[in-house]
Subunit: 434 residues, 4 copies
């Protein structure tokens, strides 16, 4: 999937000057934006040879323009890697299997992307023999942790350069104005559209919005903020009805009951669900969450396909999985979500959890029918060849293989403990009364 990297042109090599590479090579997680462009130039100033690494993880981006920009700014090489497929299959699917939800609400869109990108970054560093990697994540956030834990876990010897945590960098650029000045001075193209009063991060799974005016948790998200989903107020007045087929807890086919459209490969299926969910305004949340570094932050997320899949998987899992296995798996998934959020995707414990959760999904097979409408996903029905649902057993009209009298014994034995507790409480109460 890795495209052949371009050599930087001579101009940039000239510009990088005499100091270049005295500190070795750094692979920079490059986004094409103002921040990482400035960092690219600044790293060169510091004496590093810079290789730019840009992962295509589904964000809207002109990748070729970014490539040219990086080369123009003096990158020795530029890697642009399409990791969308890996992102869906190796990161989103395990999260779907887990029903992973951080703090009951967040579907982990950014948290799942970071280890995927950082893995690519480290691989390039290893291939290029670079001793360093660098990223543009801030010093207060989760992403720095997610990036770096992945790097260290996969390549303990790597050195990470995080300019936003280095006083020589962040004191030089206390605000956007200083970055703009630096950009102008170093020929870094400056964004022409005015900056939104918040920051956003996009990938195939979601967009997150935070900072700026959103930092006041009382402020409502302004109209026009959302990019991936339509406003439910103006979304279509008729639902789309879908059937999603699962195998081993993973969606393998989506059918639109209305027009018969189907999608079967992981990436196509996910993109299609994004389209449908986006069209109906599904997947918006506004939350205050707890960052790993210990502060509360406010985030607004839209996760269209992820939201549909969360509902659908919950349903097919409940239909096919034993009650007690489910309870254990639910506990594991809670831990899994926390670990993913905190950046421990590549860790022994997260690996262990993925294996356990994966094992629990063996019989999670079947089809869920659902309706997508006005910001909501409605489960309509489900069927499965591996279901533990037994229509005869549960029926109110048929006795099935069930003896009602057994329930009497069941209840009586379950009440034993409660009766004993009551007996003791009464004794205590009586004694206190005396």
């Amino acid at each position: 999937m890795l495209q052949a990297p371009d050599r930087s042109d001579q101009g940039s090599r000239a510009r990088s000057g005499a100091m270049a590479q005295t500190k070795g090579t750094v692979v920079l997680a490059y986004s094409g934006g103002l921040d990482t462009s400035c960092i690219l130039v600044w790293l060169k100033e510091q004496g590093y040879g810079v290789i730019a690494y840009l992962a295509n993880i589904g964000q809207k981006e002109d990748f070729e323009a970014a490539r040219k920009k990086a080369l123009a700014l003096g990158a020795k090489k530029v890697y642009i890697e399409d990791v969308s497929k890996e992102f869906v299959e190796q990161f989103i699917w395990p999260a779907v299997q887990a029903n992973a939800l951080y703090e009951d609400r967040y579907l982990l869109g950014t948290a799942l992307a970071r280890p995927c990108i950082a893995r690519g970054l480290v691989e390039v560093a290893q291939r290029e023999g670079a001793q360093h990697v660098a990223h543009g994540a801030t010093g207060k956030g989760n992403d720095q942790v997610r990036f770096e834990l992945t790097c260290y876990a996969l390549c303990p010897k790597i050195k990470v350069i995080a300019p936003w945590r280095m006083p020589e960098f962040y004191q030089r650029f206390p605000g956007r104005r200083e970055l703009m000045d630096y950009a102008k001075k170093h020929g870094i193209p400056v964004p022409v559209t005015p900056q939104t009063p918040w920051s956003m991060d996009e990938n195939l799974m979601h967009i997150s919005y935070e900072a700026g005016i959103l930092e006041n948790p009382k402020n409502q998200a302004p109209p026009g903020l959302y990019k991936k989903t339509r406003d439910p107020a103006t979304s279509p007045d008729t639902p789309d009805v879908l059937e999603i087929e699962f195998e081993r807890g993973v969606p393998v086919k989506v059918t639109n009951v209305g027009d018969g459209a189907t999608r079967c490969t992981a990436l196509e299926l996910f993109v299609y669900l994004n389209d449908i969910a986006g069209k109906h305004g599904v997947g918006r949340i506004d939350i205050v969450e707890n960052r790993f570094v210990g502060m509360k932050s406010r985030g607004i997320y839209e996760t269209p396909a992820g939201t549909i899949l969360h509902h659908a998987h919950l349903d097919i899992e409940a239909f096919t999985m034993d009650r007690e296995v489910r309870k254990i798996k639910q506990g594991l998934a809670l831990k899994f979500a926390e670990l993913v959020y905190n950046g421990f995707w590549h860790s022994p414990e997260c690996e262990f959890l993925r294996e356990c959760i994966g094992r629990s999904q063996e019989a999670v097979v079947g089809t869920v029918r659902l309706s997508v409408f006005k910001g909501q996903v409605y489960i309509l029905g489900r069927e499965s060849p591996r279901s533990l649902y037994n229509e005869e057993l549960v029926s109110m009209n048929v006795q099935g293989d069930y003896e009602p009298a057994d329930a009497t014994g069941f209840i009586n034995i379950n009440s034993l403990r409660l009766k004993e507790y009551h007996r003791l409480q009464s004794k205590v109460t009586v004694q206190q009364d005396e």
Copy 2:
């Protein structure tokens, strides 16, 4: 809240005949419907004196008609007790504090009502010196367990009569037809409207629909099934925006931002939220769940107010509660939801959990602003005098009391374990390669 019971008229006493009361008195959880009316008469046939107990827990019901009916059928007394307020304050509120959700989806509307009703039933039995209580719950369901565990926990000596588990009863009434015949024979009024092809159970918090055509989990809920919420397709095109104020994790005031309407007492507030949510089609789910007796069943629920409160409480709790306290509390609440579902409301462990969860709510104070629209609840913002959110600390523009360099150490130490694991894995891999 207990209304003075009416004596049964002489006619019924005459009808109850010579055998009456030779087996003692039974207090029957009476609903006014066909089943419990037949049970009332049948119990008399068996030689019991029957007192009817009908809890008003918010269901739509003509209570006076039910009273007359019971007396006409030979009940010695009829108690009609309005437990709505207790239901909200003593049962629903703790569930809101817990964010109680059974198997990730069910808000426990029936499970919360049962111990409230059963408690009333037992109290009447104790007041009346009755040795028995009876109910019309089936032998395959959860309600029998919830009823009886409550009865035994509060009054270990009580004897429970569950006709649907007694062969002499259920073999006599294998289907609805036999019940109808019995009703006709014994002067029990027969429902004039045709029966829905499913059964439903209603209380202030929700309506549940199950059985009949819903037993096939693939069958979509038919249009017209829902009684408590409007179809989102035809619900209003403009949202209602509400502000819900919490103290100790419990809603104490609701304000409709649109028209300025406010509600402050528990019951009024809950009823109002039911209205608003119902109007916008909020709170419908269709799930397959695991019953305590070990079978999977399909249930459709609508929980309008409960759904709004679930979202609102999640939000204010996340805003005010420490991250690690929240994680512990989340684990407790999972257990709590399971216990409530299984009927253990009145148990030492559930009592313990309620106290722990209650303790966790001390600082859960503040106001959540939200929009109710087309089947969905959208959080818009929140504020609190007890929030742990620190706008300065989290700001991307202000450093606040935070040293970015600390994050480097934090990440490095957190990576230590991962590096060691990698080191060992490499060693193992090398050995295997040799």
Copy 3:
């Protein structure tokens, strides 16, 4: 491992008379003792053809005498099956891997044996086409549950006969005297030694003592009760020092450092550890535990080899397993122990847990050195090719790959939350003071 069953002699066939087998065949879990001998005869009286199944699971027993006795009493066939090896490898080993401990103290000796025996019982029933199995477990205990859940899980169609829960049986035999009378009447050999004033149950792993004078939880276990371990007061004055080698969390070799004795197969190794531990009085506990049926009971257990292995495995696991994996595994093991205790060995959830726990044991490899002395096991040291212990990293004299300054950042970031909490608490306190 299954020995060819003997046909019952003609005498017994004659005695079983005309009524025999009209109710079909039952496979009885036969112990050779008074209870199950009476049950054997009683079952024949009831019209069953009886096959006796006697599992050799390491108890002290004259199996040939038991065979003869069963045949003499009219058993159609007798199966005597040595399941010791399966018991160790398939039941005890997973418990060792899990460090399974019920309620912090009980090593589950009986609970592990029951599904092993019941599995054998069911297999015989299936081979013989018997519709029923029977056992002599009481109606208040855990063993009935463990037996029957195994039977139903492995063969849902089987019918279980539990005489001690059948009024026609237990009312006929309210006490030992009635059993003795029945025995004499039916030619059942009566024990010649006086009965101990408690009951005991033995297998390869442990002996449990309960009931009788032990039912008073204040009563001290009388001298002479213990059969599998010597009194530490009279045990040797010099320790045995052992080295136990583990692979995948399972012991594969034991070496006695003193005399160089080694044991390598599962069964031999376990028997050897029983000898050594028994000789030094290791493994006695006196506890009050909670039965699955809801009552507290008092049990005294001696588990010699199991106690050594528990200590040794804890040690090698801590040495080789990642901290966070261990924490997750510990939670799984708690649940595992509870399930095993309650009789759910053969259940989807227990299967799931065994697989997860098994997965966690992959790197649990190495050797533990320990001393066994006067009722205690002392860990002396350990080594492993898969250890995550890094002597250089932890050393107080060498810096290793560790930067002390990182700890500052680590602590500071960890304190962030605590500072915020303090800030809020102070604010609240100030407000309250005003």
Copy 4:
């Protein structure tokens, strides 16, 4: 409990020279040993005014000599505070209630002491208006975290100086020799006894031994290492039998059954148990544990009284606490132990857990009889006015309030899920066979 601090004599003031106090005042957690004596002098060199704080937490120490030493080295003041009583009542007792055990084995002796000492340290800093506190904990260990998290939690503004994490300090003192040289040069008394080849830390609850020759996890602890307990090989040949009375999960009285000795106050009782347990060699463990900073370390601990209390409390708790409450509490206690180990005693989550656990102990009342002998604690019996143990209910001779037939229903209902699972598995198997 705080003794009036001594002013430092003029000599030391003179010695501290011109630079003194230009950086403000620091309160140093002083031990009287070589390390913190050197730190004291070094801090003065750096320009701090130093107040020495020495907590008497039960370690063997000549406190008056330490006071003189600190003053002689130039401390402005010396606080010697006896916190033993607070340590037992406010730190050890909650750990006893929790049955707190880190990683299944460690009773947390050091982890409990640190927040107690650090609290005293911070209180002195606040009283003295000092901006800084300092400690002599190393940069790789847990104690630095425990100290500092407590300091920050109780006084967010405090600045912590940790010389062993400052390059200017640790590079100056890479080994003991450099410390000795520094000591000689600055008139710091040098230990006359040769250093043990390991380090130890003592308090009322335990002694920990680590580092040096113990860093090799294979090395056996040398004879003569243990200071708080006798070698079981030479301990008395007759046990001491004790009765320990609990209220609310806390020991309130110890009676030696042999000689009738009793102890009732927290501190006396704990000291007495230390004596008895120490005399019989109780409480030694040798483990590899996981430090919070991410490395495995080897520690040897002796915790005499704590070990007795752990056994006794487990027993009385199991006797008096409902099974399900116990299970929940056990989960809370696991988390509690981890938090205490990691230094989060003063945190919102640990506070929350202590309250929940405290609540669970209300009925943990009664007396445990036990024998202490040759390194082991044997529970002999127990009694309680609040026990949930019901001798009649559990009896094998009396039916009590128990219906054996109920167990049939209980088992059957519990088997339902297992049968369904088997049914599905069979179906799958059949399909695979086809």
